[in-house]
Subunit: 258 residues, 2 copies
């Protein structure tokens, strides 16, 4: 079976071309590529949308325009609508995160989903909201809940993307880039440092030695060192002790303790 | 003990006043109010910041300006830095969601946190990143990861806010607004409808009656009706059957089956 297309972003009566462009970028950030417009105030195509959509022009090139919300949602199985006014609507209200989970579940069952966004100043009218199965409201600072159109699109698309396989891969890759040194190399560093400190006399008080060693090891354990950093620290130790080994040239042996 | 202040947003070398204004709005959306600027390119105060910060002027009024990143973070215990370049930095990399959890944990231990954002075009330089404990990268569509400054601030502030008590209250309130009808009222609706359908003969085939009743009930169960909707539907039924009861005035009894 073909993969079901990703959710469609539907802008109802958007006022300014610029905002259509920035909304196109925001949805593309979250991997959404299908944009529908219902009665855009300044018509379509709109040259003012192009510059603000830099990098997401492919989204603009595939825009579909409709006269009514009913036509714009006719081929969809699931309709979500963003609104700050949820009272007395008698529909389930989701946060963007809950909506993303619901959309993914329905998408997995091959349902086509659309998300309605209202005009910049007024938001969706009650009649537009009547077409929706589910409302979406973003929990924000009660003292300041105002979002512009592109920001509202961004938060929905961002939450959609976080539940995709691609996001899981991106996140795994981010974490893979910080690979800790193997414990063997870390223990080599401890042995090197403690060997030199035994020699220098820093650890000479026998009954204090275990605590001092533990404290030192904790510092380097907490530092979450990678392999390169372990090598760097061993170089630092070697360099510091080089004079003791008779090397005053600055060309210290890398690992004199080995 | 005093409550620890919320995380500080630190914009390093922001280019345009407009972007400082929109960043102020975005952070305030997430309940963050402390903004620091390091060497803003056009100086500070900047009149171009005011209009774009509409509604979040209180954030602008308390801006602190610093000459260096080192000075801007001097009083903080935790420093996070947003960047798309995480390779070879040998620091933990968090998604915004992971970072929000980490920031809340540290905030709960009375640590003061700051989050660094770089200039619009270039992002943070490696030297700025060197001040951070933890890097933050937003998992986004690999084909299009570009975010503007205010959007980057919004996603971090949004994730911070989602873990606050206030967000929990907002979310609970959203869901509280959709209170389903008590089952007693729903059963009253079923009884009313089925009573009238028994009378009209719609349910006359005895062996089909249980299935037909079950299907009808499922429709209204799935509809997740609230109390007002149950009353509306009972009104609809009463109105439809009014002629049978000899009422042709349109003044049908509300609940003839009771």
């Amino acid at each position: 079976m073909d993969t079901c297309p990703n959710p469609v972003i539907i802008l109802v009566n958007p006022q300014l071309g610029e905002n259509i462009g920035t909304a196109a970028r925001a949805m593309y950030n979250g991997g959404l590529t299908q944009l529908r417009l219902v009665r855009p105030k300044m018509g379509w195509p709109n040259p003012h949308a192009i510059q603000p959509a830099a990098g997401a022009l492919s989204v603009l090139q595939n825009v579909e325009v409709f006269e009514t919300v009913a036509e714009a949602i006719a081929d969809l199985q699931g309709v979500f609508a963003t609104t700050a006014r949820t009272r007395d609507m008698a529909k389930p209200v989701h946060t963007p995160r809950q909506a993303a989970a619901a959309m993914h579940a329905r998408h997995a069952q091959q349902e086509r989903i659309g998300i309605l966004f209202g005009p910049e100043r007024t938001g969706l009218h009650n009649e537009d909201l009547s077409f929706a199965d589910t409302l979406i409201t973003v929990p924000l600072n009660p003292a300041y809940t105002s979002l512009n159109l592109a920001q509202a699109v961004l938060l929905i698309a961002y939450e959609w993307f976080q539940l995709t396989q691609q996001a899981a891969e991106v996140t795994a890759q981010l974490h893979a880039e910080h690979i800790l040194a193997p414990k063997e190399e870390l223990l080599g560093l401890f042995q090197h440092l403690e060997g030199e400190l035994d020699r220098s006399g820093f650890l000479r008080v026998a009954h204090k030695r275990p605590t001092m060693v533990r404290n030192l090891r904790n510092i380097f354990l907490r530092a979450s060192l990678n392999a390169q950093e372990v090598r760097t620290l061993r170089g630092v130790i070697s360099d510091l002790v080089a004079p003791y080994y008779g090397d005053r040239s600055g060309q210290s042996p890398q690992n004199p303790a080995e």
